[in-house]
């Protein structure tokens, strides 16, 4: 997807949106946005006072299970819905009540929503035509876009005559052609098969990097979010739970939901013994004390949940020094990794993922009594 002419960020004045210099580097500022559908008894709060800032040139992902409000937030930014309360700022200008055709924001729809009565090229040219660009500019940019998504040969085809992956590219080219300030992508890869999806993930990331356009990407696929994003906002039941880099979100989940939704996680009960800046010592039910990452707001003595990633634990022969002890319930060999499903002495399930390197030494079997040791930064205290 490397083309010659890439869409450049366009001066905002052209859109009639006045840019205040003090806005800083945020492309989108969502401030206290609430969205309620329906009225009376049938009222549903899709978004519950959400605030988030999306930086310029950022690949930002809204991640959450279906019904968490991520698509509603995207539709509010696109202008298909209007917020019940709150502001949506684009480069410092409130666009919350502008109709979609007055916002320099384009969408790649989940269903692609390509116009079936137009050819591939006509679809891509549509936005430029509606902006009243000159014929030569429209033709030039359409050709550039076709090249960018490698669809030159299919320009004259009807959109019903091309494959799903090709439709996806056309949808992308159509949304990029008018050089939007922000590109919104509503689960655009969900209809593609696994291999194509993997390819498109990399291409999208590359495209975002090359165009310098801010991408806001909606997905329920945590792997997709981790692979592509600069930052991720994890959403659940109309709220944003945590915003951070993929690394932050994965390594330092702040809440139980985030830890459970992204990757596999073991949960352990513990009690805070002592705190210092950013870390704490916690006591496990077995009496063992270990260090743990600490978000704000926990005092010594509070009962907490710990999250431990399966790959941060290591399985060892049964030993009094091990942090945890249990029996192997089940053992899954996955080529590069082996997953050990343990039953801890306290009765909890616990998973350890171990790489199958040549030096991993001891071989364990189902039914064996084993110990588990945790690295110094393996445990993370969660807000429930």
């Amino acid at each position: 997807m490397r083309g010659t002419a890439l869409p450049q960020a366009q001066p905002a004045e052209e859109w009639g949106v006045c840019v205040s210099e003090s806005a800083g580097r945020n492309a989108i500022d969502v401030r206290g946005v609430r969205k309620v559908f329906g009225s009376g008894d049938g009222q549903v709060t899709a978004l519950d006072t959400v605030s988030v800032s999306i930086r310029e040139n950022e690949f930002f992902t809204l991640l959450g299970p279906s019904g968490c409000g991520k698509t509603t937030l995207l539709r509010l930014i696109a202008g298909f819905e209007f917020p019940t309360d709150g502001q949506i700022m684009l480069h410092g200008e409130d666009i919350a009540l502008l109709p979609p055709f007055r916002r320099p924001v384009n969408t790649v729809f989940q269903s692609y929503a390509l116009f079936p009565h137009m050819t591939v090229a006509e679809n891509i040219a549509f936005g430029l035509e509606m902006l009243g660009k000159s014929r030569s500019e429209i033709d030039g940019r359409t050709a550039d876009m076709l090249k960018l998504v490698q669809m030159e040969e299919l320009a004259k085809r009807k959109t019903s005559e091309i494959s799903g992956g090709q439709q996806q590219r056309v949808a992308l080219a159509r949304a990029l052609a008018p050089q939007p300030k922000v590109l919104l992508l509503d689960e655009p890869l969900s209809a593609l098969d696994y291999k194509l999806r993997k390819e498109m993930q990399l291409e999208l990331k590359q495209l975002q990097h090359e165009t310098g356009i801010t991408f806001i990407f909606v997905t329920h696929d945590q792997e997709e979010a981790l692979t592509m994003s600069d930052r991720i906002a994890v959403m659940s039941t109309g709220k944003i739970l945590q915003v951070g880099s993929p690394h932050d979100i994965y390594e330092h989940p702040a809440e139980r939901f985030v830890a459970g939704f992204i990757g596999e996680t073991n949960f352990l009960d513990a009690e805070v013994v002592a705190t210092s800046a950013g870390s704490a010592t916690v006591k496990l039910p077995s009496g063992k004390q270990i260090p743990a990452g600490l978000p704000e707001g926990f005092q010594p003595g509070s009962r907490v949940s710990l999250a431990v990633r399966p790959e941060r634990a290591q399985i060892v022969a049964a030993d009094a020094d091990a942090t945890l002890a249990g029996v192997i319930d089940n053992l899954v060999y996955l080529g590069t990794d082996t997953h050990f499903h343990l039953r801890l002495d306290g009765g909890e399930a616990f998973i350890v993922r171990q790489q199958n390197s040549s030096g991993s030494g001891i071989n364990f079997a189902t039914g064996d009594r084993v110990g588990v040791i945790l690295g110094d930064d393996a445990a993370q205290i969660l807000k429930d």
Binding site: G79, P99, F109, A113, F115, H117, A175, P178
Partner: protein, 307 residues
């Protein structure tokens, strides 16, 4: 020895035979009710008219066809164009076009309104649209007369509200015929329009808005091209019966503002010229067929191929 191929062939033959058997009742009715009478009409149009109606069987004549367009002076046999026939033909085509255009203009927003309701309430609206069909056309047309006549509801209202001081003559004008035809044929436009709008993917409308199309441009560039099959079907369903309308021009247009239906009826009644009536009927049919052919070809050329 019977191979699998033979068996397959036998089954196929039996299937075809069964299909013919199943469709036989319909085919018989179509033949007796449509094709048979049509053949009779064609035959009548080439015969000599009887003195008191009917035709003289077996006597071939082109008089019927000749009289569709021409007129022969009974004293000196000079030949002239049948102006009356042409003006009635022209009026019929004109009124039918206007009716089609007006029902489209009124029916489109109505269909759009219904198609954008929640699915549960759409059926109610469609049901309401069909209510006029419950009453006989003749009765509805007389009811229409009650609305448009000089002392009728419309004129009374206009005088009462001070828009006019004298009743406006609507009865026995083309306006009255149009009024009646638009009213009667509107559901025939709304229903096919609704059927194709219901299938319209409204995400495409959103995509249009997203790509900077204003409401008018979304309507013109996206909605209308996509519901074109409905526009075509509705236009055909309205135009054809409009062209052959009989009751409405008879009741609302009076004797002066005839349409083709009335002219043809006249030949079989007071005119006692069955061959002419038959020839006119076939002429109308040919005009309709030709118009449809041209219209459908033009309308589908730009190709609406969405599923």
């Amino acid at each position: 020895m019977t191979s699998a191929q033979d068996v397959a062939q036998q089954i196929e033959r039996r299937d075809i035979r069964n299909r013919w058997l199943l469709s036989a009742p319909a085919l018989v009715i179509i033949f007796l009710a449509a094709i048979g009478p049509l053949l009779v009409m064609v035959a009548y149009s080439f015969m000599v008219k009887g003195d008191y109606g009917d035709v003289r069987f077996g006597e071939f004549s082109l008089d019927g066809w000749f009289s569709v367009l021409f007129w022969r002076d009974i004293f000196d046999d000079t030949i002239g164009l049948a102006d009356a026939h042409l003006s009635i033909l022209w009026r019929s085509i004109r009124l039918s076009f206007i009716t089609t255009a007006l029902t489209l203009a009124f029916g489109f927003p109505t269909a759009y309104f219904i198609a954008t309701r929640p699915p549960s309430t759409r059926e109610v609206w469609v049901f309401l649209i069909t209510i006029p069909f419950w009453t006989n056309l003749l009765i509805r047309t007389f009811a229409m007369q009650e609305v448009v006549r000089n002392e009728g509801i419309l004129n009374s209202l206009m005088i009462w509200s001070g828009i006019v001081d004298q009743p406006v003559q609507i009865m026995y004008t083309d306006a009255a015929i149009l009024f009646g035809m638009v009213y009667v044929y509107l559901p025939l436009m709304v229903l096919p329009l609704y059927a194709s709008m219901e299938k319209l993917d409204f995400r495409l409308v959103e995509a249009g808005y997203d790509l900077y199309a204003t409401r008018a441009r979304v309507l013109w560039r996206i909605i209308i091209p996509l519901v074109r099959p409905g526009v075509i079907a509705g236009s055909i369903l309205v135009f054809i019966p409009s062209l052959g309308a009989y009751v409405i021009p008879r009741v609302l247009g009076g004797g002066k503002n005839m349409m083709l239906g009335n002219l043809i009826e006249l030949q079989f009644g007071a005119g006692r010229n069955w061959p002419l009536g038959a020839a006119m009927s076939i002429t109308v049919m040919l005009i309709v067929m030709l118009a449809l052919l041209v219209y459908v070809r033009n309308a589908t050329r730009s190709g609406v191929q969405h599923g």
